[in-house]
């Protein structure tokens, strides 16, 4: 929507100007601290519907499923992103919906990728009117940043999405869920079949709460296909199609270790900081990203664990083959897997009972009775930018265009005892540490440490860590000093020129608004 005079903006707790109301989205609450908002609702309940003995759930086509589901103009449909760049489902379903003439839908997938470029056409033809997602990449992201939608998209974290669905903030009318393996009654898993993806953690939330649940598979197996990640009692229809995805785009092969000396230096500092933090003790828990530096940290940590005979209680989040190896070596007791990042992880989850599949709600929903991030000691997170208030941007690039995802960033930062950003001080000619990040995904008050190749900054809220790191002779600087180091090389970054139109609303995990994304000029 165009910013009209009357759209009132409020400064939220971290000084970002956010609207109180957006046409098409309704009233909005401003962010006011990571645990300020108190939920008061009851959990949302989907429409009860029964399937009688003898009734078949198998349908012949996606078209049949769309018709039978009762999908109508203005409703909300959802998808999961476990197939990443290999996903065929979302485009297939939208094409069918377009053909049926259904319009004005809200598209609420757990995330969007480059492969979803055809959504642009479905926005233009009126099928898709709104988007709620963790992130967007590629041409679709550019189109959104250029203002293709009348209503801003909503960016939600993985935990925030689960929260919103459970609270009824996002009511999903029909979930179309691709599954690599399923029986004709809807018992499905993600680790069998040609199109295997491992965990179905994001999809589990939709399966439990959408009014109608449609499974789409290319691999029907004998009933009963249990243990199952999605169960028959949650599924209305099952459809077999030729292919649900391109295996090459779904899982990547084994992860290779970085040889980039800058990444290795960041990793060395990060590992030393973890060792000195006081959290590296028997029974500790951790989450790592999949970037080169994060994976290298995990490798260094592994060596220190062996050296000091320290074992971890669990590793969390997107799981890589590296963690699977540590599970198998006995260095980690359990893996909590909401998304399997590579071939090794995607296979292990079906074979090792200690590799435990969790839903996005179990992973990170702040409004259940205790999600897994609450029990996290150490999380290593990436950043496109960090500012001197320790706010982190992982969604918009240096040109202001959307190019990432909120993911579990703000969720894990809020939960973990030690939330550590690992990033280069400079990328290309662009500083990572800045005065103000373009877009805040994660508030600085939940970030403890920023580790770069040129030194470590500790949030002043964590005087305890500053002392520990200094004692360990780590290269500790203030965040302002790191920023100046960066600027001394790159000069001050030119501010991005934005238009007035708000093209995205960034929700914090509790549903309050932490920032907005504006149209790029």
């Amino acid at each position: 929507m165009l910013m009209k005079e009357e759209t009132k903006l409020l400064k939220n707790k971290i000084g970002r100007e956010v609207p109180e109301h957006i046409e098409g989205l309704g009233e909005l609450k401003a962010y006011n601290g990571p645990f300020d908002f108190q939920p008061e609702k009851r959990k949302f309940g989907r429409k009860i519907s029964q399937v009688l003995p003898g009734e078949s759930k198998l349908l012949n086509s996606i078209e049949d499923a769309v018709v039978k589901s009762g999908l109508k103009d203005g409703m909300t449909i959802s998808f999961h992103h476990h197939f990443r760049e290999g996903d065929f489902i979302l485009n297939m379903v939208l094409d069918v919906i377009a053909k049926l003439g259904i319009k004005n839908l809200t598209l609420a997938p757990s995330s969007l990728n480059g492969v979803h470029e055809p959504v642009i056409e479905h926005i233009k033809n009126g099928v898709v009117a709104k988007i709620i997602t963790s992130g967007v990449r590629g041409p679709l992201a550019e189109a959104i940043s250029n203002g293709i939608l009348d209503t801003p998209i909503i960016i939600r974290s993985h935990g925030g999405r689960a929260r919103a669905i459970e609270a009824g903030d996002s009511q999903i009318d029909v979930a179309f869920l691709g599954v690599p393996c399923c029986d004709e009654y809807g018992n499905a898993n993600g680790y069998s079949g040609e199109s295997f993806c491992g965990s179905l953690g994001y999809a589990k939330v939709d399966a439990e709460l959408a009014d109608k649940v449609v499974l789409i598979t290319d691999n029907i197996v004998e009933y009963p296909n249990v243990p199952a990640s999605i169960v028959q009692t949650d599924v209305d229809y099952v459809i077999k199609v030729e292919a649900i995805g391109d295996p090459k785009g779904i899982v990547s092969g084994a992860t290779r270790y970085t040889k980039n000396p800058r990444e290795l230096l960041i990793a060395k500092y990060a590992a030393a900081a973890i060792e000195a933090s006081g959290y590296f003790v028997p029974g500790f828990s951790m989450q790592c990203g999949t970037g080169g530096a994060s994976l290298a940290v995990a490798r260094f940590i592994r060596e220190k664990m062996i050296e000091k005979d320290i074992k971890a209680s669990f590793a969390l989040g997107g799981i890589t083959g590296q963690f699977v190896e540590m599970l198998e070596e006995g260095l980690i007791s359990k893996l909590f897997d909401t998304q399997s990042f590579d071939l090794t992880a995607a296979k292990s989850i079906g074979e090792n009972p200690n590799h435990y599949e969790i839903s996005a709600s179990f992973y990170a929903n702040p409004h259940n009775k205790g999600c897994a991030v609450n029990k996290l000691d150490i999380v290593m997170l990436s950043a496109l930018e960090v500012d001197t208030d320790f706010n982190v941007n992982v969604i918009t690039g240096s040109d202001g265009v959307i190019r990432g995802a909120s993911g579990g960033h703000c969720d894990t930062a809020a939960g973990a005892k030690l939330a550590m950003i690992v990033c280069p001080l400079i990328r290309g000619r662009i500083p990572t540490i800045v005065d103000k990040v373009n877009t805040v995904i994660t508030p600085g008050e939940t970030i403890d440490v920023v580790v770069t190749d040129r030194g470590i900054a500790v949030n002043p809220l964590r005087q305890d860590l500053i002392e520990r790191f200094k004692k360990a002779k780590l290269p500790v600087f203030t965040i302002e000093e790191l920023k100046e180091k960066a600027e001394s090389v790159t000069g001050k970054a030119k501010p991005i020129e934005y238009g007035d139109k708000i093209v995205g609303i960034v929700e914090y995990r509790d549903g309050t608004i932490i920032d907005v994304i504006r149209q790029v000029k």
Copy 2:
């Protein structure tokens, strides 16, 4: 309550007089056929509550948990019956509640046993005002049948209980769930520890839907205790006590085969009927009871499966060691276990991934998107009485006193293609086949076959089975002929003398009223 002139009674579809309204219970709907009632509600949602990082769920005592849970006069509390006659939890918690002076509660356990005799005192002292349960046995059952409660108890099947909780018909304020193994954050299973019981299938429903969930254990293990049957995101508090049950009462040892010639004869006929039914084909599914005859049928069926090289897709329900052996032999692909009946089953569920734990909702809730009983081919069920309309009583004895449980009886009968009652024609000097059963738990229109030691009766609705059985030269009689055979030995049973007071309401699985239980004189 006393039956007043104004309590209007209606005849339901099977001719039983049931009230339209009961003080303290509200409006009631009369049973009108097994799939007549159409659910229209949304699924119930419990109060959303959050547990913050760093918050502990561990409390020192049940008293602390009762206080912290916010339990107040008039609320509803629930328990599971997986500890059977070994349960310590229900009595412990009620004692604490009584001490705290909380009154007028609705007690809504999944079932009640002889060990729960002390509830009588808590009815007398005003702590317990209403009871909703699958069944009651022993002195408490006698007291209820004698009119100790002002409001009738509600008898629900296992599927009906899950349905009622999911529909919000029974809102559980606080669930107190005993668990044999659990971490301090609420991840629990039923198969580890001294007090192991196997499946926690009934408890899973309460854990998902009660506003507050309290786990009580005698065995706290390291976090994270996953895979888990009850998960941290559903649990508010965890308490460690000395003992949650008496292992001797929780699981029985290995099941012994009957040598009773009458039971063996019933089993022989039943196995022959199954073989002739047309349902004994590769991929068939079955559920058995735990009575001597049922277990003997399973043994005969096993032999026929080996002989004919027929394998079952799954076995369902209360699982015994016999089915575990057949799983291990490869004769059955999967076990769906909502309650583990013996030592072998209770251990196997933690070890064999094909021995799959299911909730009572997955098992038998008619109002989800397809419960397991819908996929059942053959179920063998017991009966205290069967009448000439094939209605079955499993709740009241020949003296009219409550002495059993609804269990999964009407659920499986409604779901299975072949619902077979196995019972002796006469018990002691009492006929099993009668004109009118004392109390209807399962409507005759869902029962296909009655197998006795003196012959087999087939529901006239199933002419196909009558033909098949006659072709197989089975001893087929009409149900009236079986009744006459019984009466020719015993004479007509003297009708039970009841008072006017209704002491129990029998709900069919869909929530409609199929019968009432009256006070015994």
